[in-house]
């Protein structure tokens, strides 16, 4: 509940300490890498900075002469938000350099003692993107089933007898409930055209 919390061992920090302690020759290059990894939160500052610049550029290049009515035009608030982003980026950088660390989110199924499993995250995001591409050509029932199965697979489920079946049932039932019962249209795709 207090301001800048002492580092509650974020996942990357724990991995860096183990990796640097195993190879006892601290070459300057690896030292710099581990410093960067320890301070990876600075990346957030860079993103906030970039976002701030983007918002400010957009606001300043806006052509407001014709549309402006009243003393405050469509520019004022973006200018304020953009400036705020720059200020917060700077303040956050100061906080990180002084040792402040954001507290990583916790939850029932979250184990922060292990390093982050990037493969799963990339796979999940890929499956989701694939669904976005497939939903119109294949229709919701098939694309949704592929999404469910693909996501379960990415998360480590390997029951090839059960997983596709559950995915298909979930997707078809959802389609029927939304499309037919609740009146929320979803694309049926070629399969529903056949049935």
């Amino acid at each position: 509940m207090t301001t800048p919390t002492p580092p509650p061992t974020p996942p990357s920090a724990s991995t860096t300490t183990t990796s640097t302690s195993t190879d006892k020759t601290p070459a300057p290059a690896s030292e710099r890498r581990s410093w960067l990894r320890d301070h990876s939160e600075l990346g957030v500052c860079v993103l906030l900075l970039a976002l701030g610049v983007l918002v400010l550029t957009d606001a300043l290049t806006m052509d407001v002469d014709i549309t402006q009515r009243g003393p405050v035009g469509p520019r004022t608030v973006p200018l304020g938000v953009g400036t705020g982003l720059l200020v917060v980026a700077a303040l956050l950088a100061v906080d990180v350099l002084r040792g402040g660390r954001g507290q990583a989110g916790t939850g029932e199924d979250i184990d922060l003692s292990e390093p982050a499993d990037w493969r799963t995250v990339v796979l999940l995001a890929g499956v989701f993107l694939g669904t976005a591409v497939l939903i119109e050509p294949l229709g919701f029932p098939i694309a949704g089933a592929l999404l469910f199965w693909g996501a379960a697979f990415a998360l480590g489920s390997r029951r090839f007898d059960r997983d596709p079946l559950i995915a298909a049932v979930v997707s078809f039932v959802t389609y029927a409930v939304f499309n037919n019962l609740l009146g929320v249209p979803l694309p049926g795709g070629p399969l529903m055209g056949v049935l």
């Binding site: 301001t3 918002v55 407001v64 949704g144 999404l147 379960a152 959802t174």
Partner: protein, 497 residues
Amino acid sequence: MNALNSLMDGFGTALTPLNLLWAAVGVLLGTAIGVLPGIGPAMAVALLLPVTYGLEPTGAFIMFAGIYYGAMFGGSTTSILLNTPGESAAVVAAMEGNPMAKAGRGAQALAAAAIGHFAGGMVGTVLLVALAPAVADLAVDIGAPDYFAIMVLAFIAVTSVLGSSRIRGMASLLIGLTIGLVGLDRMTGQQRLTFGSLQLADGVDVVIVAVGLFAIGEALWVAAHLRRRPPDPIPVGRPWLGRADVRRTWKSWARGPFIGFPFGAIPAGGAEIPTFLSYVTEKRLSKHQDEWGKGAIEGVAGPESAASASAAGTLVSMLTLGLPTTAVAAVMLAAFQQYGIQPGPLLFEREPDLVWGLIASLFVGMVLLLALNLPLAPVWAKLLRIPRPYLYAGIMFFAAVGAYAVGGEVIDLVILLIIGLIGFGMRRYGLPVLPAVIGVILGPAAEQQLRRALQISDGSVTGLVNTPFSVIVYAVVALLLAWPLVRGALPRRNPRT
């Protein structure tokens, strides 16, 4: 008196068979989804938003109210039986509830929680009936500067009361405000941050932001750190309470609402603070000091009652001022906006059927919750064993359904994923999610009020502080901002003794 008549009309709305059905569906869905590990009330409401797209507003909000209360109750079941609460409001329930379950008193812990929820919700809703029309009457005359002040208060409160770091809260708020800027300017039609894209000209739908940040962000974050072996839930029978337990807990049930309700109504983080305050109060007043930490039933009953009442308090500010004080209220406000309804002082005049039907359905939902959850508790406990790949695959799946159902556009799924990745990054670096959601929802409204106020005053900044109400609100804002300095100057007291 007038309120009572309106409430009776509300019961007329809520007790129609169809609305009764929506209330029951909401309570059951809400509890089931709230019990599922990893899904808090806000995600539950966000994921269930598309279910209501086909409904008319009254039915939809009656269902939402059921989902809200059900999800809060479900969350406490999870923390009692698993001891790894996902959302802050349920942390306190685990402190005494889990030791009770371990000692074989899980049934009593669940009963104390269920009845606590019922009592807190009932008292809270009575207070809502008594206060909301009065607040709405007072607020009817407030103008643009006052609204803007309230929204500034919401922004500052959500960034500085919640979470461990103000600067990270502020960063999150600004990200939300930026997303809220995307699209056509509401007053002049000027394109902002659209980069010439037609799809972005409509702005980013609030539902997509909420689902992306709460559901996709959470699923990706869990995926990165999935526990190899999920914790084993403690098996439990049908909840019941002996006479001795009732004698110990009834005062805790009665005290909880008066701690919870006021905190729910102000932007102070919803149930997090009142549950903890109630815990501390019950501990201090308890005659069984030796049991605390090992499973004191008052430590479940009081905080649960407070949590439930705080949900009712949340509805006061949401319905009368359009001010969301919790993540769930923020998502519900987004749902109101979907229907083109603007919560605020005029809501009670313009949509009396909706508002009073909703309030009456809270009473109905509470009774349903108690009647259904006591016998169903063993079933809910089984949900805790769901294989995690299916659980998180299901979250991704329903998030996709929700985003696609908004407008039937593929681009929405891509935006959802991008916002989900932002949510992932925010969880990784400890940026709270709620300020971003509040920023997206209230940002555009705040801008409109600001510009309206300045238009009236012809650009003079004094136009923002020309009413007593706005001055008071800014004083509160100043106090919130200065609080860390004030607290640092005060002599340190030990809160634990």
